[in-house]
Symmetry: C3
Subunit: 341 residues, 3 copies
Amino acid sequence: MTARLAEIAALLGGESSGRADLEIRGLATLESAGPHDIAFVANPRYRAQLATTRAGCVIVAPALKDEAAARGAVVVVDDPYLAFARLSQWWAARVRPVATPGVHPSAVVEPGASIEEGASVGAFAFVDAGARIGAGAVVASHAHVGAGAEVGAWTRLMPRVVLAFGCRIGARCIVHAGAVIGADGFGFAPSPGGWVKIEQLGAVRIGDDVEIGANTCIDRGALDDTVVEDGVKLDNLIQIGHNVRIGAHTAMAGGVAVAGSARIGRRCTVGGASSIVGHIEICDDVHVSACTLVSRSIRQPGRYSGAFPFDDNASWEKNAATLRQLHALRERLRALEKRLT
Amino acid sequence: MTARLAEIAALLGGESSGRADLEIRGLATLESAGPHDIAFVANPRYRAQLATTRAGCVIVAPALKDEAAARGAVVVVDDPYLAFARLSQWWAARVRPVATPGVHPSAVVEPGASIEEGASVGAFAFVDAGARIGAGAVVASHAHVGAGAEVGAWTRLMPRVVLAFGCRIGARCIVHAGAVIGADGFGFAPSPGGWVKIEQLGAVRIGDDVEIGANTCIDRGALDDTVVEDGVKLDNLIQIGHNVRIGAHTAMAGGVAVAGSARIGRRCTVGGASSIVGHIEICDDVHVSACTLVSRSIRQPGRYSGAFPFDDNASWEKNAATLRQLHALRERLRALEKRLT
Amino acid sequence: MTARLAEIAALLGGESSGRADLEIRGLATLESAGPHDIAFVANPRYRAQLATTRAGCVIVAPALKDEAAARGAVVVVDDPYLAFARLSQWWAARVRPVATPGVHPSAVVEPGASIEEGASVGAFAFVDAGARIGAGAVVASHAHVGAGAEVGAWTRLMPRVVLAFGCRIGARCIVHAGAVIGADGFGFAPSPGGWVKIEQLGAVRIGDDVEIGANTCIDRGALDDTVVEDGVKLDNLIQIGHNVRIGAHTAMAGGVAVAGSARIGRRCTVGGASSIVGHIEICDDVHVSACTLVSRSIRQPGRYSGAFPFDDNASWEKNAATLRQLHALRERLRALEKRLT
């Protein structure tokens, strides 16, 4: 795949200088780019690399225009990172394998399921009775769409995704391989004979433009539904418990666990491997750092953290051992203070 | 699906008042219930909602009988939560899609496998030679039952569960989508040329009435088996290492990791995202809070915790930085104390 | 399966004593071994069990030779653990179900894919156009090998592994059930209308002799590839972000999360449930303890830790509450010190 610089400049809508007919053969980082690659500088931290990159063209913000133009072709846009994102989409649409519309001969589509125009159902996919696959949607190989489930237009379920019976996902979503949407929430009542299962009678409702990572799990609700609003982005291996509600445009990094009935606001971000306990509320615009346990509701926007600072093992051992006596240390300090007043 | 209140009251065996012919159309929370829904109050915390709920009927404990009856139909039972669990099962049995007995035409059952009466083998399921699927069991779409593996009566393997060769699961279990039972444990001997694999010659043995969450992994043993006793409940994305033993009726929330050869007692609970190191023992009736690393054996029943308390980022930064000097602080305090005596 | 002791001694190349014709029927731990089992003592901690084990033969280091020989048959080798690993492989090759070479009639191999000699493609496996399956390799049931992906000789993809389009894995690797190699990395540019996807144009490149655990995810790179070097061992449910590089012979335990663009050295070990933030570097020979967040680059070999020490809940509560005031405590201590000088 190749493109002319002029074509890319027109796509990005920015001012450009340098040979309009320069042939672009790939997108690359400043570090690895060659004379036919296009790269970008989004972060001033990487400005120094402008002097050394071999990129055929760079996308920069207005502040770096002259510096970048001095070394070769340039496209100037207000937000180089966003421009690069759009360019990556344009490029991918031209180089990626495309799902063939229609139902693969090996797939099983049960009677009563509806497959709308242009949708693709891959090898060994299973679409159960009453399910609806929207126009242009992709149900890739080994995926399972349960009875009565709904897949919105242009949404892609990657290989062996499970969308369980009665669950709904909106338009233009991507669900990566192995994700499980709509398994039972974890609910049991104690009894003298052991745990008694509470059947999970709700489902999962997912909005538009949502992306869900590989092997991530979103459980169905106990009575009401588990809800993921528009534009949410979830990375891999995330656990979303039953009846959680995730507000629009919230993003979570890999390995996060959210316990049942937590309500998370809009435009939040949650760092990798963090956890959120059940039945709490987090307001809009909260940013949780990696490896943090959010154990109480958060009512003020802002950043919250809670990881133990790592250290060389010997130092950690000494500090960790002392930590077990921290309360006692405070009492000793208090006693000293008292004596001295 | 609808039911008369009298039918439900008879099922739950409690005293009831209100119109016996009231038509119940669904189970709901106090908050979302309408005049044809039945709800419950298990926790006195939600007592205030009795005044505002629109539920057609509520299930309550004797202490709330009069208060609940004053507002409408009521079923009085000793344990409303348990009653609700049983009702949810009765309801689900009537509204859930049911697996069709028999082998789906697209499934592959290798010669020498046995499928007992009433069992269901779904689309694209694979049952290898010598495997045994018990009476009434379900092997859902894309599930894999390895050579010689055994699935007990009425157990359900949901879509694309893997039960590897030689592993056994008892009766009335549920294994949710994507769970992997019987992958190799993680064992390697160091050598000058790198890690040398220790083949995992054991298997996994799972008791009766066990529930295993979506994408959870239980590794096969190195020499002896990994064992999960009766009534254990594991949530999603849990990792159980080789040769772990989990005692009967223990429950673990999502994202827990248990390292090899740990032995966990009966009736324990482990909070989400906690970890248990290898080769330790935890006695019966231990409760581990969320995000706790259990790094030593626990010999006394009780609750154990170990999460770093989260805070706004600025406060966390100050405290975390100081934590790295905690041992030095203790020494300084000790020096002060010495000087003052 | 049975073997004569002489055969095993010859395999391990060690000095042996005891009946050469002793029939060995299994490998076992010292604790569970019977008179026809062979066991080993790798750790002097287990020396005491030599007196009580019923094992037919034990593999020991020279230091324990006499003690072991006094009780029965013995094989003496320099490294009993390594010898046992090799024996386990020899044994497994004789008792394990073997994949049948050839393509299962239910599999789908798209035109243009190449399956080399002796390779096995299992039930419902899907091999897309242009993919290459090396000699003797195994693509087990429900596995997905994407367009143009490459599987090296003798590598085994276990049931329902996904190796996405354009990704490559070397020779003699094992990828356990449910692992996803080559899903999109997690990259989005913020925009006023929400997150804009950055297409992940790189792939995943995996070396030789790598083992990857069940349900583990390795994301494809944004521009360059994500790289896993030779001999790396990853346990279950691990998340490897885009453009991570993992050096040769590094091993990671279950539940680890590595964020994007982290570079990890050779011969490192990472304990279970630990996390590594993005864009940092860890040098060779670093050992990270369980449940540690590595939040900065590590430039010196050694052991690093960062778990909160767990405690009974009451003690933890007191210490955790005090921890929130730690910085203030330091200030109070400083004030006292000042007053006293």
